[in-house]
Symmetry: D2
């Protein structure tokens, strides 16, 4: 039996991070489908959950002034619409690690259908907004889940 007092957490299957969510009214627009910009919110929830899963505490880093990730680039295709009450799965793979940034391939799935497909670059920024090196132990955490060679 699930304890519904515990908030949802995603997790890894191999190098793929999985994050499930359900579409609510707030996500839809008058076309009766999910508003396109809201997929970026879904992707961000999944990335934050992935950081949590590998042991990176974004809030602590932010509060300590050690930097915050910002999305610097995204190439996204919306392929099929999602609707109210749809159960979706965000599948994320870290495909490249650089000193100050990461590349992540993210897809929103409904069963076996790909609804949205995005190539995302996220950079670590100082409180002043400058790119800074990711801590060595964060890099190690990412290397452990790196989906190398995968497109």
């Amino acid at each position: 039996m699930t304890d519904f007092r515990a908030p949802y957490r995603g997790g890894f299957t191999g190098n793929e991070h999985h994050f499930a969510l359900t579409v609510y009214f707030e996500d839809t627009d008058l076309s009766a489908i999910v508003y396109h910009a809201n997929y970026l919110r879904f992707f961000e929830r999944a990335r934050s959950d992935m950081l949590r899963a590998v042991g990176i505490d974004q809030r602590a880093a932010h509060e300590a002034g050690e930097g915050t990730y910002a999305v610097t680039e995204m190439d996204i295709k919306w392929k099929r619409p999602a609707k109210l009450d749809d159960d979706l799965l965000v599948v994320s793979k870290v495909t490249k690690i650089r000193a100050a940034s990461c590349s992540i391939h993210q897809r929103v799935m409904r069963g076996s259908e790909v609804l949205a497909d995005a190539r995302v670059t996220a950079a670590l920024l100082s409180p002043e907004g400058r790119p800074i090196r990711q801590p060595a132990d964060w890099i190690d955490k990412f290397k452990a889940i790196l989906a190398e060679g995968e497109e």
Copy 2:
């Protein structure tokens, strides 16, 4: 072990509906706390989950032109701020049932702290936006969870 491919669902403890969620970047504003309007999104997710839990299919009703719930009144107090990564619990109780509307008491909790407290009225509206009677079996479902006498 939880299956993280299954999306989160809340549920009832007695007449109280519980819905857990976590605060993400999208929910915060530059005060580093959850933007006040976003509590209304949390409340709505919880109400939609509550309808699902009692067996009311909002999407089917909407697509069949049988009506959609709209919030017509809300008296809300924000008492304490929520922050990034906070685990919250939305506690909802149906306190009154009328022919065309319901009253719901909703609170956003963090542990034992009440962060926001709201008295909500939701009315069933026709596709043309007029208040309409709730189906008899929906009324019955609400009566089964009615937290009568509770303020």
Copy 3:
């Protein structure tokens, strides 16, 4: 001729602050009307514009650590729905000034129709989230626009 390179600013007619806006896709939900929580965004834009109009610089105050306004209470009624492309007017009146907070009556109008009506309390909070006294010159600015005796 209007210069469309200049962003919109609202303004006062007597003690009433007026802020016009247009409904976009982002504001709607699958009921093809404005999602209820988004009225709170409209109200906030109007309040921020009102502060600017009376000469209070929220960003400077925030960056200097002198405090930020937070909504602590709202009693709101949604009366009629707004739709895509509707031109709306947010009418705001400061009805009470206290040491650490203000009461504001805000309505969203479409022509002569009231779509939403809200009684709002906003408090000035320190960076740590504690209520603090509003600067004397801010109080003076509010007194100059106080819609006293009005409901």
Copy 4:
């Protein structure tokens, strides 16, 4: 003198559509900058205003079941952050017209700085979500503002 009861409208300077806006609390996140997904809302407001400016009535088309535009692809770079109270200008150019879709180059500017740069494809979809041909007179309207040969 500007009439602040009239909502803001953007307009064209040659083939460039200009749409000004100001950053509000709702747009920011705890990094004290505009949340990345909210740039997509800014871009959409500008595109909707551009359609209005050339004489295409999105709401009438939607209500008549004649189709609604959906973003199908976006390649976006976030270059510099925007902050609370910043005055921004969204500059949009239609760069290509196809039977069922358009390409648009959109930038968010703050003075002469480019904060975000996006290549957007928008397709006209039927109420069932299938790509449909744009009406001939809409194509003509787009041709009149086509920024051909421009990158």
